[in-house]
């Protein structure tokens, strides 16, 4: 029992990270119908921004709550700026061409960011400084939860609540919903769609960066290619929950995280070796798409021609 609870905690921890990243995929898709393949790399950029902030501002030497908050928010701001820059200089110029053009641009952008970071920082993993003391809290039996895991849960829930508030209670949120409903009509209604799109990229990138810093706290190792697999799984989570649907992205992320952890923990009893961890996420995706093509929470809307 305690092992099961432990595995569930482990799974929901990674699941929360997937959910944070999946939100960015789903928001951009909701507005532009674009799968932003560079989004996983923004998660990596966020972790590196946190690393640079923490070491250059001296938080690495004297860990404190203040230092952690500054690092977290600082890296979110930096990632938001980079996300907006990518949208402005890479996607906006090709937006009026076919969707395929933008998609290929996104793949190119992803590779550019990855290898730019390999070029600058080298490919070897860097140790991320411990910004908050990490302790283990015993729940019952052998089940424990570490403070960095609690931090991941608390911060991601806060950010998700904040996101809901922005989308449903603010003017810009209303504009985002309008643009995602129909970009051209929104433009006709006088909404500055370019600004709304840039804002969406900023929001998504900030969430991914938060995911990056939180992961780096939990698993204190960052490297330039860390965003590839994690980003891909977050994308699967977004599709699983119903791409374009925000609660769906969160649900999808948690499901994928829990599923892959349980496969490692219990798969061997039903004949699935732990090496199939990554395969399971994609197998779930295929199954869901076969049964519910729009995803778990996605609404099945007929494509307008």
């Amino acid at each position: 029992m305690d092992t099961f609870v432990q595995q569930l905690i482990n799974g929901l921890t990674i699941g929360s990270i997937y959910a944070l990243i999946a939100l960015g995929y789903t928001m951009v898709y909701g507005i532009l119908r674009l799968i932003n393949f560079a989004h996983g790399d923004i998660y990596m950029v966020g972790a590196y921004a946190g690393f640079i902030l923490a070491t250059s501002l001296g938080f690495a030497q004297n860990p404190s709550v203040f230092g952690f908050i500054v690092t977290l928010i600082g890296s979110m701001v930096i990632a938001a700026a980079i996300g907006m820059a990518i949208e402005r200089f890479a996607y906006r110029p090709v937006r009026r061409y076919s969707k395929m053009t933008t998609l290929i641009t996104a793949i190119g952008m992803s590779l550019l960011i990855e290898y730019l970071f390999v070029f600058i920082f080298g490919g070897t993993p860097k140790p991320f400084p411990q910004l908050l003391p990490n302790e283990n809290i015993r729940l019952f039996g052998e089940a424990t939860i570490s403070t960095s895991q609690i931090l991941i849960f608390v911060v991601s829930i806060l950010l998700m609540v904040l996101l809901q508030w922005i989308i449903y209670k603010t003017k810009i949120g209303k504009a985002m919903r309008a643009v995602s409903f129909n970009l051209n009509s929104a433009k006709l209604m006088g909404i500055n769609t370019d600004f709304v799109i840039a804002f969406t990229f900023a929001l998504g990138s900030a969430l991914a960066a938060a995911g990056g810093v939180l992961t780096a706290q939990y698993n204190p190792k960052i490297e330039p290619l860390m965003g590839i697999i994690t980003g891909l799984k977050a994308f699967v989570a977004a599709v699983l929950g119903g791409i374009g649907n925000i609660p769906g992205a969160v649900l999808g992320g948690l499901l994928i995280g829990a599923a892959e952890t349980l496969v490692v923990g219990y798969g061997q009893y039903v004949g699935i070796p732990s090496t199939y961890r990554d395969a399971v996420a994609f197998a779930i995706l295929i199954l869901v798409l076969l049964i519910r093509p729009a995803g778990l929470l996605g609404s099945n809307v007929q494509e307008k021609v």
Binding site: T3, Q6, Q7, N10, G11, T13, I14, I17, F89, P93, V118, F119, G122, G123, T124, P125, P127, N134, N136, E142, T144, S146, T215, Y218, N219, P220, K221, E223, L225, M226, I228, I229, T230, E260, T261, V264, G265, Q268, P273, S274, T275, R277, D278
Partner: protein, 428 residues
């Protein structure tokens, strides 16, 4: 207009970065003429395991500088052509083709990771260019052909060393293994550790796998925790094992952790910290060994590169020296003769021990067990384990092996003669 400008900027910057890479790669090969011997070195200089490639490059560089300062080989200087494969097997194959076909090197040194050596070796074999891998320990590497050799021991021995150590020194009855699913090195060690540990009367109670890209390892570790093993064997590379150690301790698993030479990197301490207490690895040499030739090497390396050489640097140094020695004996770089000379290397005094290549072109050497000391960021010598059939040299008089009695009093009383069954050819 702006778009065209941006496009031009982008294209120039792409070319510029290519130019940088080119320049880095060829920096040492300029001026290669008929009176030089060109040797290719390839390794992971920028990827996940880049500390391996950097150490290898430095070790080779030091050896070549010493050889050239002493007048070269047969009056010819050695020049190096260094290539980066980013730690990727497909890239390893590409760069070795470039070294052989474009740079026309006469011999190749590399790689560290067995998976990368395995990808590159067939190219060298087909082109009949001798390749010496300093540190790939998977037996399959030299099975590729007679042009491929190595100066290190192989995994059947390395895996059994740790199994012996766990069973005899740590008195472990049960062990769990968590291995890297992507690496041939890890797979080999897992297999041979299991074999020897079972033979010693121990039991493998859990086996888990991880991928290098896994976001965390707690799922695997939690599954292992259930079976409560006496020791955990983690055959992997430093980037992952440090984090595995950390997360194991977080889960309250405080048993000894065992590993191999893949742990040996200065980066290990930064990533793992205190979690690396109570951990042991098998390795090729100990920088603590007081033998003068080893201390000399450590001193020269430190003077040149500012760090204590890890075993990968020591092996690379030996590989370059073995190659130079073979060129001298072959009287040139005729590839068939050179290959024969390399394969007949016997009793070559290297810093990692006396190197003699057996019929399968593997070096037969003792291994050392080192204890991790994270507070000083170094490895402490624990004991030396010899392959079966090799008698440890007398403890009086300094030798190249690590059994000097001054080093460690407990080691001396232990007599250090845990002969290990050598199943070097059992893996065919």
């Amino acid at each position: 207009m702006t778009r065209i400008f941006l496009a031009i900027c982008l294209i120039t910057s792409v070319f510029f970065s290519f130019a940088c890479v080119q320049k880095g790669g060829d920096a040492n090969s300029t001026g290669a003429t008929g009176d030089t011997i060109k040797v290719g070195v390839y390794g992971d200089l920028t990827g996940q395991t880049s500390s391996f490639g950097q150490s290898t490059k430095n070790g080779v560089q030091l050896a070549v500088d010493e050889i050239n300062a002493a007048g070269g080989v047969n009056g010819k200087k050695i020049t190096l052509v260094v290539e980066d494969d980013q730690g990727r097997p497909e890239q390893a194959k590409t760069v070795i083709s470039k070294l052989i076909n474009q740079d026309k090197v006469q011999a190749v040194l590399g790689e560290v990771a067995s998976s990368n050596s395995l990808a590159a070796a067939p190219v060298a074999q087909e082109a009949h260019i001798p390749m010496i891998t300093p540190s790939s320990t998977n037996p399959k590497v030299t099975e590729v052909g007679d042009y491929i050799s190595r100066v290190c021991f192989i995994d059947p021995f390395q895996g059994s060393v740790m199994a012996k150590f766990a069973a005899n020194t740590l008195k472990a009855k049960t062990a769990a293994i968590i291995g890297d699913v992507q690496s041939d090195y890890s797979k080999g060690l897992t297999e041979f550790f299991t074999q020897e540990f079972t033979k010693q009367g121990g039991k493998i109670v859990a086996e888990q796998k991880y991928a290098q890209t896994d976001p965390d390892f707690k799922a695997q570790l939690t599954a292992i925790r259930n079976s409560n093993p006496d020791v955990i064997y983690i055959p992997g590379y430093y980037g992952q094992v440090a984090i595995i150690a950390k997360q194991a301790r977080e889960l309250g698993m405080n048993m000894p952790l065992l590993g191999g030479d893949g742990w040996d990197s200065p980066e290990l301490w930064k990533l793992g910290g205190d979690a690396l207490k109570n951990a042991y690895i098998s390795n090729h040499y100990s920088a603590e060994n007081p033998a003068p030739e080893i201390q000399n090497f450590v001193k020269n390396y430190q003077a040149k590169f500012g760090v204590v050489p890890d075993s990968l640097a020591a092996l690379a140094y030996d590989a370059a020296k073995v190659l130079a020695d073979a060129i001298k004996r072959a009287g040139g770089t005729d590839s068939a003769k050179l290959k024969e000379a390399i394969n007949q290397t016997k009793d070559f005094a290297g810093v990692t021990g006396r190197i003699t290549l057996d019929g399968s072109r593997n070096a037969v050497k003792p291994a050392v067990v080192l204890e991790l000391n994270p507070s000083a960021s170094k490895f402490n010598y624990k004991e030396t384990i010899y392959p079966e059939g090799m008698t440890p040299p007398a403890t009086t008089g300094s030798t190249n092996t690590n059994s000097n009695s001054n080093m460690n009093s407990t080691a001396a009383t232990n007599t250090n003669t845990n002969a290990v069954t050598s199943n070097a050819n059992a893996t065919k």
